[in-house]
């Protein structure tokens, strides 16, 4: 569930082996989405703009590195000055988080519950940002009636959290582009109330970069708080060479 946001990425090997669209089950579609989003390594420079309920804007620019299908993540802020050089290391699909504060040179280990916190007050939580997370692993999928969404002919899939799952959302609704299995809209429902819509993610400006369809713009709308956050890719590179030593506390402090 999380990896779609992370670098929004997708290694689409548009498989010819996929059965005809009518035969696909919800699980088949989600399997394709998972495959699409599975990337080994990536580097990205992102711009995140938070628009508050009063219309004020806060803009952040950060770099991120990801490895092992999103299992390892490192984020380092470049702007604004207030958070410059702050960094976050997430390992084990964001189950282990360390934050680095440059002015005190202090590294603080955060427990899993910190994933629920908003990233710099945005509408993306750390859980949304980190880890690869597999839809297949975390949810049970059911295909609903196909729909057109944002100009794309889409499969509509409902994902219900597995009973053993430890996620902040009880249910997701996905609109997946039939042509390339890219999830163009995702609705996130409350952890306890599967009928209560919390957030909507809309992915647009989809371009193929290094052979991988990539949404260059993501809009997360928080219906609870009446706020929204736009994430834009300034720069992205797939299959970059990243040493495991990059994802250590030593590198976090650099």
């Amino acid at each position: 569930m999380r990896k779609h946001i992370i670098l929004i990425v997708a290694a689409v090997v548009m498989t010819a082996s996929v059965a005809s669209s009518q035969d696909l089950t919800g699980e088949d579609i989600i399997h394709e989405v998972d495959d699409l989003m599975t990337i080994q390594t990536a580097y990205a420079k992102m711009k995140m703009t938070i628009e508050t309920s009063s219309g004020q804007k806060r803009t952040f620019v950060y770099e991120s590195w990801t490895k092992d299908e999103g299992e390892k993540n490192l984020i380092r802020y470049l702007e604004p000055s207030r958070v410059k050089d702050q960094a976050i290391l997430m390992l084990n699909n964001a189950n282990d988080i360390w934050m680095f504060f440059p002015r005190t040179q202090r590294v603080r280990k955060l427990a899993t519950h910190a994933k629920k916190q908003k990233m710099q007050g945005s509408d993306f939580s750390y859980e949304d940002m980190g880890g690869s997370g597999e839809f297949e692993e975390d949810f049970v999928a059911q295909r609903l009636e196909d729909e057109e969404k944002n100009g794309h002919d889409c499969y509509k899939v409902e994902l219900v959290r597995k009973p053993e799952g430890d996620l902040s959302y009880s249910r997701l609704l996905l609109w997946v582009i039939k042509e390339n299995f890219y999830p163009v809209v995702i609705e996130y429902y409350d952890e306890d109330d599967p009928t209560y819509l919390q957030k909507t993610l809309t992915q647009s400006n989809i371009e193929v970069i290094d052979g991988i369809p990539t949404a260059k713009k993501m809009l997360m709308q928080n219906l609870n708080d009446q706020t929204q956050t736009v994430m834009e890719i300034v720069e992205i590179e797939y299959d970059v060479e990243l040493d495991d030593r990059m994802f250590t506390e030593r590198n976090l402090k650099k």
Partner: protein, 401 residues
């Protein structure tokens, strides 16, 4: 004479600023920092004291290459309002009555304008180790408010995340595998024997970070009842302090947990230990809760045993507590998308006193923050958080550039 010195210092500051600006213009040096203006007010007995402070922090950072980093910051601070606070104004009459009248003016904490190089260090990164040389931050331990293993800093319990001063040291960090690090630190004094030495080993076991630490440092308690005319200050009592400690941070039953312990062997005074245990949690509705327990056996169990030395050593940051057992609790919630409100309380279990600190943090604009708190002490006279300690408030506006 004083005025001339001030002019010279100001001139030096301007020159430094021009130097920094020219470096910034001609090389790849990042120039950033902040300006903050703060006001603190406190009702003490029948008076209301105010202290204003302006601080300009200029940071420089340059990565000369992938393995050489230079970073520094210069602080310029001015104070206005009540610039001299006599500690005796805050203490119980039982304590102050023990102080001879002739010594009473000496218990003053002055807030003098100052500018100084806070941090300035070079980090050389080799494949097998990192070497950091110069004035640098030394942050040790996992505690949020108290850090028993950190003999270099004492946090402000009302503002525990505020930055700490830089320390002159040589530090070597040797990574061992991906999850462990061995660190050696040497902070030179006049001689080897009164220099600080530290060895630290940090590793990860399952979901926990673990570290063990050993430190030797010359500790400088003062006797605040004896004036030393040779030094024109209270009598200094240097002694060797040896610390052996451990800290951990991880997760248990979904809660964040951490603990820190340090035993201190003192050459002259009594040995003591410090212990911290803490936990935190974020609820689904974004409310964050933190609680931390702290024990320091230098602190007294009964407030009637507090002495002027206990209080002064605490104010002078020679010891972290006056009372033995304390608990810090914090509840924080994002009230709006730009404002976070919190309520913290520091409870001195030993003497049944408490400080309540409601706090507001507001993001005024992209690079402007406003931070404010009230400090309300609830305790009878003579206790750690006695209401005679002065109830008050604090506002800070900070602009980052």
């Amino acid at each position: 004479m004083k005025k001339r010195a001030l002019i010279v210092l100001n001139f030096a500051f301007v020159l430094l600023f021009m130097f920094v600006a020219s470096i910034h213009a001609y090389s790849k040096v990042d120039l950033f920092g902040y300006y903050e203006s703060q006001v603190m007010g406190a009702k003490v007995k029948d008076s209301f004291y105010q202290l204003y402070a302006n601080k300009l922090r200029v940071d420089l950072k340059s990565d000369f290459s992938s393995n050489v980093t230079f970073a520094a910051n210069f602080d310029y601070i001015t104070y206005h309002g009540k610039k001299q606070w006599n500690i005796l104004d805050f203490l119980s009459s039982e304590i102050t009555s023990q102080v001879p009248d002739a010594l009473k003016p000496l218990y003053v904490i002055p807030f003098s304008n100052r500018h100084f190089l806070d941090n300035a260090y070079l980090r050389l990164s080799f494949k097998p180790f990192d070497l950091t040389l110069g004035k640098q931050q030394i942050s040790l331990g996992t505690g949020y408010v108290w850090n028993p293993v950190d003999v270099f800093n004492i946090k402000d319990i009302l503002d525990p995340t505020y930055e700490q001063p830089g320390h002159n040291a040589m530090r070597m960090d040797v990574p061992i595998g991906l999850a462990s690090t061995a660190t050696a630190l040497y902070a030179p004094g006049e001689e080897w024997k009164n220099s600080s030495k530290m060895l630290l080993f940090k590793t990860r076991v399952s979901r926990f970070d673990l570290s063990v630490i050993g430190i030797e440092k010359t500790w400088r308690f003062h006797d605040y009842t004896v004036f030393d005319p040779a030094q024109m200050s209270f009598l200094e009592l240097p002694e060797k302090r040896r610390l052996l400690g451990a800290s951990t941070a991880g997760q248990l039953l979904g809660l964040g947990v951490w603990a820190e312990f340090a035993y201190n062997w003192m050459d002259q005074t009594d040995d003591f230990y410090e212990l911290v245990v803490g936990t935190d949690y974020t609820f689904d509705f974004q409310t964050y809760f933190l609680v931390e327990y702290y024990r320091n056996t230098l602190g007294k169990k009964d407030y009637r045993d507090y002495t002027i030395n206990d209080w002064m050593r605490n104010f002078a940051q020679e010891q972290k507590a006056v009372s033995r057992d304390q608990v810090y609790a914090l509840v924080q919630h994002p009230a709006t998308d730009l404002m976070t409100v919190s309520l913290s309380s520091i409870i001195s279990i030993s003497d049944h006193s408490m400080a309540l600190v409601p706090t507001v943090m507001y993001s005024f604009s992209q690079n402007v923050d406003i931070f404010a708190y009230l400090n309300l002490n609830v305790g009878k006279e003579g206790t750690y958080f006695a209401n005679t300690m002065g109830n008050g408030g604090f506002v800070r506006v900070r602009v980052y550039f």
